[in-house]
Every structure is written in structure tokens, then in C-alpha cells.
Symmetry: C2
Subunit: 197 residues, 2 copies
């Protein structure tokens, strides 16, 4: 403990961030000390405001500044199509494509018996409650891994009997990737889901 207390305290707090160890935290803190005071001021305030002003949308379960969130309140989106994602960040990825104008639903994870995450720990109940509002299709955009696949299958079994379409994001070789350099799992998916021409 050779650093003075406020510095020490800041390093300890910063090192709680995911993937940040003591050294990286110290690097951040010393960097902040070398900047004009406004930099730490703005960062500190932004973090405080974050915890104070963000809530969850009671419709889509996304993190949001108001409830319902901007996307759920937007009348121009298609109520018939609901894209289900694991995490709030995944929404950004879908939105960036510019190809989706439906609604979203944040599951808050994926089913993982190994980690004790079942449907009850996810927002499946809230998703089901939304489906009576004119939905035609649920597009499951969970990750292409064991948990994401299991979750997609679980949702399909649950929702299809209600008379809705359940679709899954296509997985395969990423656009821009040469076949030679594509990873094994992506090639396997690309073969499995090959399309008729």
C-alpha cells in the first residue's frame, strides 16, 4: 500500500471492472491524474449518472433511460416481429445492420444448466406476455454456441404451438472472410445450413 489513499481507493474500484487487473487499474488512475481535472470529473459524473438514471424497460427488458424505452415507444417499428437477444449490447449489433425494423426482447442470458441458468432466470415470462400483442414472428438471435442453441430450441418449442413463426439468425461464413481462413465452427454451420440455389 505505497500509494496515497484516494489513489489507492480509485485503483481498487477500477480493478473491479471486468478484465481489469491491479496494473491496468493503476494505469487508468495515473493517467487520470495526468489529465486536466475535468477529465476525471466528466468520467466520474458519467458513471454516477449511469447508475442513477438507467432503468429497465418493462416491455423489452433492455436497459433504458425511460420506461418504456425509446424503441418500444417508437410507433414506426413493426410489432409483428420480435428479435430475441441475450444481452442489451446485441441490440446495437442488429441495429447497426440497418436491416431490422421490428421490436427487441432482451433475454438476460441463455439457458445453461451447467451454470444453473434456467428459463426462470431469463425474461421468458415477459416475452410470452408480449406475444399476444400482434406478433407474427419471433427471430431468435442468441449466440451460436451450446447455450444459445439450447435457448433457441427451447423458445421454438414454447412459441410455435402458439401459432407464431420462430426463426433463427443465419450462421455461417462471415461476409468478407475467405474460406481458407474461416474458423472450423463457422464452416461446419455453413455446410449444415447450405441453401438451395
Amino acid at each position: 500500500m505505497s500509494q496515497p489513499d484516494p489513489l489507492r481507493r480509485c485503483i481498487v474500484q477500477l480493478s473491479r471492472l471486468p478484465g481489469v487487473g491491479e496494473r491496468t487499474a493503476a494505469r487508468y488512475a495515473y493517467w487520470l491524474l495526468r489529465q486536466p481535472p475535468a477529465v476525471a470529473e466528466e468520467l466520474g459524473q458519467a458513471i454516477l449518472t449511469l447508475s442513477a438514471s438507467m432503468t429497465r424497460c418493462s416491455v423489452c427488458c433492455d436497459v433504458a433511460a425511460q420506461d418504456p424505452c425509446r424503441r418500444c415507444a417508437d410507433p414506426d417499428r413493426d410489432d409483428g416481429l420480435i428479435c430475441v437477444v441475450e444481452r442489451p449490447q446485441d441490440i446495437t449489433a442488429i441495429e447497426r445492420s440497418g436491416e431490422f425494423r421490428g421490436r427487441f426482447h432482451v433475454l438476460d442470458g441463455a439457458i445453461s444448466p451447467m451454470e444453473g441458468v434456467g428459463p426462470d432466470q431469463l425474461t421468458v415470462r415477459q416475452l410470452l406476455a408480449r406475444l399476444s400483442g400482434g406478433a407474427r414472428e419471433v427471430l431468435v438471435a442468441t449466440d451460436p454456441d451450446v447455450e444459445g442453441d439450447a435457448t433457441a430450441l427451447y423458445l421454438a418449442r414454447l412459441i410455435k404451438p402458439l401459432g407464431l413463426r420462430v426463426t433463427r439468425l443465419a450462421h455461417g461464413i462471415a461476409v468478407g472472410t475467405e474460406l481458407e481462413y474461416a474458423d472450423r465452427s463457422s464452416v461446419a454451420r455453413a455446410l449444415e445450413h447450405r441453401r438451395e440455389l
Copy 2:
């Protein structure tokens, strides 16, 4: 800009940290949102306190909670030996060794004509002012690179004529490193500075 404003603002601020891009900043922010509000609260406050409560020690130029800093105010340290480091963090490394009980001086960088850093941008003036206070030896602990070496040489030329010893931290093969795996520069230093047995 598909994230709500306070989140967006927090990500922008976090991405100013050194080595933190937009993605890492988003990872930090979303992680904070998943924690109990106290976590963001404590981190935000720690960062605000940092900028408000830290100052510079007018003696050693280290970042400090008070002026003079704890180390400069400590009567048990040897005034005769001053260890000169480039950055405040370097003090921690020296202190960790448990082998040094002298004073410190933070240069605030190293001489680098390429980056326009000369002695005037460093705390050389403050260092010289301290030397009349009973100092016998200045131990230069700048980095073993071009800038650190140049700075050490510059300080030696400046201080030796005052009748003080000027020493440099030993560089060579790190303890615990097998010769086979030592990097080229360290081996070169170890050869150059070989000691008589």
C-alpha cells in the same frame, strides 16, 4: 447512436481511458449496469475524489494526498540518497523491493528530443534545488531505453560537478529468467555491465 444517452455518455467517457476502445468501454458500462447500483456509485465517487483530493508534492513532485507527501514528511528516511524515477508508478516498484529507505524524486518523464521533451519539461529544476539538503547520492532509476539512458547521462553531467555520487539502477538479466529465454537487450546489458568476481 443506438444506446440511450446516459449510457452513451458513459461509454464515450470510458473510451478516453488509455488503451480502451469503444468496445471495451461498452463492456465496462454494461457490466456496471448489471451490478448493484453501489458498484457504479463507489467507482464514480472514487474517480471524482481522485481528481479533487490529489495534489503534487512540492518536494518530490510525486502525486500525493497532502503536500509534502507522506514519504517526504517521513523523518525515518535517509536524506542522503535520492532515487530519481520517471513516473509516480515507478516508486511503487522500488518500494516493493523493500531495499530502499531513501527519498524519491519524480522527473515526470525522460528527455526525448524526438517528442520535444527537454530538461525544462521535467522537474530537473526542483531536483537541483533539493540537492543542497544533505544529499550524498542520486540514484537514477529511469527506464533502460534511449530516453532513460540519455536522461541518466544528462543528470550525471549536471550533478557530479556538485560533488555528489550519481548512480544508476543495474540492468541485466532479470532474476528468475533463464539465460536461454532472456531478451536480447537484457543479455546485451548483462554483458556490458558484467561484474568482477
